[in-house]
């Protein structure tokens, strides 16, 4: 199984990389982009014994810093 974890800065926490990319898109003439948020995707190859609760614990303990980041994940066969 694969666990696909997405981690990104919380809404309300300024994302400097997203802002720079947003500005660059505008400079290149791509209009109509309201906001850019840059996060990271962490792909875990896991045994079938690994549960959603365990992935959640991994996120809370290590993969995300919940002071500034939100996360979501899905388990794929």
């Amino acid at each position: 199984m694969k666990a696909i974890v997405n981690v990104y800065l919380k809404q309300g926490v300024l994302d400097p990389q997203g802002k720079a990319a947003h500005h660059a898109l505008g400079s290149l003439g791509f209009n109509g982009v309201n906001d850019v948020r840059i996060g990271k995707q962490i792909v875990l190859d896991v045994d079938s014994s690994v549960t959603s609760d365990m992935i959640k614990e991994m996120c809370e303990t290590l993969l995300a810093n919940t002071v500034i980041e939100d996360y979501d994940f899905e388990l794929k066969p």
């Binding site: 800065l9 926490v13 300024l14 400097p16 990389q17 802002k19 720079a20 290590l62 993969l63 810093n65 002071v67 500034i68």
Partner: protein, 223 residues
Amino acid sequence: MNVAILRFPGTNCEFDTQYAFEKLGHSTQIVWHNDKTLPQNIDLVVVPGGFSYGDYLRSGSIARFAPVMQEVGKFAANGGKVLGICNGFQILTEANLLPGALKRNTNLHFISKYQHLKVVSNDNAFLNKCQKDEVLHVPIAHADGNYYVDDENLAKMKENGQILLRYCDENGKEESINGSVEAIAGVCNETKNVFGLMPHPERAIELLLGSGDGVKMLKGFEG
């Protein structure tokens, strides 16, 4: 004082820190990250700067789980004094020993230069040899120094005198050079025994190298 200086894979300021404290007349020991105990009779633990574990995932996020950090957590919980400089500050926030978190600088650059700092609180075991509102001149060198804490915790920290230093210009006018909330450069915990700052006082102890302001900062721990 007996000072324990931690070393993780990727730490690079342990010898500067050792030089600084030994110049001030203290004995120091460098402690390996895999050690399961801290040396006896330690008065201060310093988590020095560098790039522990290559800054992978997030700066400080891996180092906080090193065996020695469990001991630092216990040491701090018993009132022991801990100082985190630069990457050490990031490690202490990741370890929840200090509030807030450090994000990428807003300009996305690694900023390496001398920087003016304003002393916000000196009523603590660290900056007691500095004057309130005094302007210090100390090197900074970081990519992830953009301090963030939510409004509720920020208000509590201000109330409790936990904001130690702010970035400023030479006249003391505050300026957030890296995006930090309220230009914050250094903070302490609620019980004022764990301290963290992005600037490097250990690099400002020789006038020949540009500044001696780090001396009165580090001497604060002598009490």
